[in-house]
Amino acid sequence: MIKDNKTKDYTSIIQERIAKNSRKRKIFNNFMTVLLFVFVIIAIIPLASILFEVFKNGVGALSFEFLFSPPGAFGSGDGGIGPAIQGTLIAIGLASLIGAPVGVLAGVYLSEYSSSSRSFAYFLRLFNDVLTGIPSIVIGITGYIALVLTLGSFSILAGAFVLSIIMIPIVARVSEETLKLVPNTLREAAYGLGLPKWKVVWHIVIKGSKSGILTGIVLAVSRVAGETAPLIMTILGTSLFFSGFNSPVDALPLRIWRLASQPYPAAHEQGWGAALVLILLILALSVALRMFAQKRSITTFKGTT
């Protein structure tokens, strides 16, 4: 009887302890869940604030004159960012002309022409990753030494060259990944019909994954559109409109930097306006190219059926 009571006591004590313990564990589990959720909120607050401030402060600066005319006198708040918008568009366009084909072809090599054991492909992949990690300002210095000093002047060519170096590894990486997604049966079917390899790669593999490749290019372009540091030592920035490939031009990020560094509130407001234009530009670029990619993939789909 006494013994029985004791066992009962022990059991209840153990049960109590387990209950207490598991309650603790549950509370701790909930605490961690909430903590991690707070982390997410912490990360989102800056984004919300940045978008809010850019729109709030930038909308006031927007006007027809602001978008299309050259900057006015220093600190006056007159004029606009016309040359900067123009320069950014030209620089991005030229950079894509070099960066997109080279990047895509390098991706094609990695996905279609290399076996993974081959050391050239290994080095290419490694150097590609290394190139992604090189700070953009260092690439800017390279452009300064390789092009600005050789050609004798700051130029949009040097700027575009530098931006293309930043684009290549991004485009190559995404292209490789998307091309690898093309099922092998498609390639085999094309070979079975007697197509030479280059036609298989071009007409089946590349055209079939066009939208993926375009996504990579869009990613690279939107990254490059906001680059400022490498432009300091290549295209320099001016307040004039484009006057030839061998002379300095302006760019939006560069203009934002100059405006923000001035001690005048009017310049700051213009800086916010330029930031808003830059964000809208990047947004528009990605939306437009994405729609283009979708449209094209639908037509190819129709063509094959």
Binding site: T33, L36, L124, L131, G133, P135, I141, A229
Partner: protein, 333 residues
């Protein structure tokens, strides 16, 4: 008549096929050459970066020698030139350390939350929003930091810290809002999406059996994360951290706008609220105003130092990540 004709067509056909074969052969050669050419061009770019920097920094290393890396003086005045990079190396390390200390726990936490605790639509939306952060150009972070965040941090964090713990040297300096602390925090905000994205991939790659085993032993969700996810993804998360660190060290514009741009000895931070300068920000600040060739060469030399540091970090990151993906494929087998 008919036999002759058919013979003719046959010959023609053979000729045609032959031509076509040769054409596709040439096409193959040409296309392969194009593809390899693009690859070689990519390799060449890395070499170009290195040789351009090495070539441009020869004069400064000839003049200063090892003093360029360990010196603390920075003077570009004609006749009294002296260039030492140490303050900027320290400034770079301090600002990125602050950034990493904030960004790593938050990013890994977000990655765990999105992949394990919020597998529904809300999780997808949250991860999309975090990815949006990565699309914002760094110059806009800088603008926001200079005109908005600077005042938040000064009034709500730095002032209270200074008033309460002002006796400690870490918080001794009167806060101004533009200092290594601000730069570190904004850098952290910028690299959170980068570290989060890689961490998510790492955590997703962990075999389900591991998680299920933890649950089967009665683990709560957090205990599962602690016992099944964190240990087996440790090196992958390390790789993600290194990638973020590489980005933080090389970031230029936002740092230039918020770090206060001190020069020489003053750029070595003595407290959290010191003005400082990083390798990249001093290049951006002085490149167009370089007074002579030696000054320019010194800035290019800073670029070389920065290049070497980031190469080390990135290669380490690549190595760690590649090792991880191998060990995962072993686990699955």
């Amino acid at each position: 008549m008919p036999p002759k004709d058919s013979k003719n067509t046959h010959a023609e056909l053979v000729k045609k096929l032959d031509l076509q074969n040769r054409k596709s052969f040439i096409g193959d050669k040409f296309f392969k050459g194009l593809v390899i050419g693009a690859s070689v061009y990519t390799l060449f770019m890395v070499a170009l970066v290195f040789f351009a920097l090495a070539d441009g920094s020869v004069p400064i290393f000839l003049k200063e020698g090892i003093n360029f890396v360990i010196g603390t003086d920075w003077n570009a005045v004609e006749g009294r030139e002296s260039f030492g990079a140490l303050p900027y190396i320290i400034g770079t390390l301090v600002s990125s350390t602050i950034a990493m200390a904030i960004a790593v726990p938050i990013s890994i936490g977000i990655a765990i939350f999105i992949t394990e605790m919020m597998k529904n639509k809300l999780g997808t939306i949250l991860s999309f929003i975090v990815e949006l952060l990565a699309a914002v150009p760094s110059i806009i972070y800088g603008l926001w930091g200079l005109f908005v965040f600077r005042f938040w941090i000064r009034d709500y964090v730095e002032e209270p810290l200074h008033n309460t713990f002002g006796d400690f040297s870490l918080f001794a300096q009167a806060p101004f809002g533009l200092d290594v602390f601000t730069a570190g925090i904004i850098l952290a905000i910028m690299i959170i999406p980068i570290i989060t994205a890689v961490s998510r991939e790492v955590i997703k790659a962990i075999p389900h059996s591991q998680k299920e085993a933890a649950y089967a032993l009665g683990a709560t969700r957090w205990e599962m994360v602690k016992t099944a996810i964190l240990p087996s993804s440790r090196s992958g998360l390390m790789g993600a951290t290194f990638l973020g660190l590489g980005r933080a060290i090389g970031e230029t514009m936002l740092v230039t706008l918020v770090i206060g741009n001190a020069i020489g000895l003053a750029a070595i931070p003595t407290s959290l609220f010191s003005q400082s300068q990083t390798l990249s920000s001093i290049i951006a600040n002085e490149f167009n105003e370089a007074s002579n060739d030696l000054h320019l060469s010194a800035l290019i030399g800073l670029g070389l130092v920065l290049f070497v540091i980031t190469i080390f970090i990135n290669v380490a990151a690549i190595y760690i990540i590649s090792k991880v993906s191998k060990s995962y494929s072993n686990l699955r087998e």
